[in-house]
Point group: C2
Chain length 334, copies 2
């Protein structure tokens, strides 16, 4: 571990602890007198060892623009509320039983609990954002939520379709992952009252690392170790999701290989050996390496977007952490 | 049909048409470039011949306080967005196949579509409310959403429990139905910049008719005609929901009757004859009449809450419509 990575971990742990304290205090107020099970489900979903990357970005975004106070951690928590709400609903849709190494809400409790407690967190996240950043912040936040849903619809439409283009893949990734991460950074800056150019730089940084994050996620779904990722792997192939490693593999394939890969995608994807066969093509045709290289280029652009802050003595410390986080995304194993 | 009822129907049709036009225009902007299926699902769910009672109340609330302009109909639409989002999620949870005489979203499309398009509408409703009524309006609106979820949790906890008290029933009804209807009225008043006392009077009116509305719904679930309600009936008993007609029936029952009713509730509620047996007890022990009388008393209180507006020449026309709507709730057959 380098000194920089160590500093990043310390900073993430510090912010995470403050965000969690803010969440407990906030939920304590908002859930007073509520049904005990609702509270239990909400807390089970929220306090699950998540990395709190979105709250961290929100806090760093605000710090880069010179503001750091108590309410910032409640605003940051809103991103974890929304993110958790979407995960709860995703797990219902995907019939997922495992997340972060433990049972999903739908598995442990019920479909009803997962849908409704997700709705509760969703409503509450918007309340917090509206209260702390007004109509401008709410606009960015709601647009990100709406885009996430739209991204899911586009992804479903493309499911199993090996003709899905790289442009379509990136449109989905931008909407499903990039937008909310970009919003975390942007709302931090907005909360700090930053000028428009700074909000946009941080938003751009967030979008680029968000896309890189998703590419790495898509790589890990094929190449990760179940133990270290803490979730089920190989889902993308089973669900017929056409992700970047596959798109790049198809690009490098000759017509005969392409035909066989398409057959694997359109056949019984849970049949024994199907997953192994597709992974073997991906290795052989360089799909993994090519996707990883693209993730690197997004990280490079993210780091470039930090230039205005790195050059500013008042912002160089939080900017250095954002730089380090961007680099870390590439090497993460979970 | 009395002259007053006719005026109410004309006014409801007029407001409904303007709200629907506002919804089309608003969705056209917000869904430009979105996935075609998302748009289709959202429109299928929204334009389904709903009565638009919540938007109507929002518009009348604002008119009672002297404001009527274009944006009011977009604000009013937000209540239909949120209401529709909750119905979509409710139908997933309840595995319901029919609503308003046609297939539910989950039945016609899929679980995924119903959950995600519901999330989209939910996010969008909050965006509209935040934009048009600021943090105060968002507070009321989000509190209503959060209460709806909490009401569902409490209801589930009480499911099948014949010891559920009248207080618990009303707490659930207030949270599940009363709050959002009260919020429709309150946000209309807030939008119009009304003084606090007027906002509260309209909020109180809304809560009372909301509770009466739900009692009538619970009555219709046992006594309605499938054709005229346009939805499946007898669900409450099947699901073990302890509603007011049952609570009142149990109150009037002697120990022997009580034992038999409890046995029906705890037994196989979908067995042939079970529903008929419980309905027979309800008729015989006056559960229906008693619940209907209570609905009447809520309507009376709602009408009393309109006094400040009825006495005001500038507000007496919209107040008369609210009065008529309250009376209509008692006689509705669907």
């Amino acid at each position: 571990m380098t000194t920089d990575t160590k500093q990043l971990r310390v900073a993430m742990a510090e912010v995470s602890a403050r965000v969690e304290a803010a969440m407990y205090a906030d939920l304590d107020i908002r859930l007073t007198g509520s049904d005990q099970l609702l509270r239990e489900v909400v807390e089970y979903a929220l306090f699950s060892g998540g990395k709190r990357i979105r709250p961290f970005l929100c806090v760093l975004g605000s710090r880069c623009c010179g503001r750091d106070d108590t309410d910032l951690y409640i605003l940051a928590a809103a991103f974890e509320y929304l993110h958790t709400a979407t995960l709860m609903h995703d797990d219902v849709v995907d019939h997922a039983s495992l997340r972060r190494g433990r049972e999903t809400v739908v598995q442990r409790y019920s479909l009803e609990d997962a849908i409704l407690a997700g709705d509760w967190l969703h409503a509450h996240s918007l309340y917090v954002v509206g209260k702390l950043t007004g109509a401008d912040g709410l606009d960015i936040f709601c647009a990100a939520t709406e885009a996430m849903v739209n991204g899911e619809f586009v992804q479903k439409r493309l499911s199993g379709d090996c003709r899905a283009s790289e442009e379509e893949y990136f449109a989905v990734v931008r909407q499903k992952t990039g937008n909310l991460i970009a919003s975390s950074c942007a709302l931090g800056a907005l909360y700090a009252g930053a000028e428009c150019a700074k909000v946009q730089s941080l938003q751009h940084y967030g979008e680029q690392i968000g896309i890189a994050f998703q590419i790495v996620d898509d790589l890990l779904d094929y190449t990760g170790k179940g133990e270290s990722t803490g979730k089920e792997l190989g889902n993308d192939f089973k669900e017929g999701k056409v992700t970047l490693p596959l798109i790049r593999t198809l690009e490098s394939a000759d017509s005969d290989e392409r035909r066989r890969i398409v057959k694997l995608m359109q056949g019984n994807r849970t049949a024994p050996g199907a997953q192994e066969a597709i992974v073997s093509y991906m290795h052989r045709l360089g799909g993994f390496q090519s996707a990883a290289k693209t993730a690197q280029s997004y990280i490079d652009r993210a780091i470039q977007a930090l230039a205005p802050f790195t050059a500013d003595p008042a912002a160089c410390l939080p900017a250095a952490l954002l730089h380090e986080l961007a680099s870390f995304i590439l090497v993460r194993q979970k």
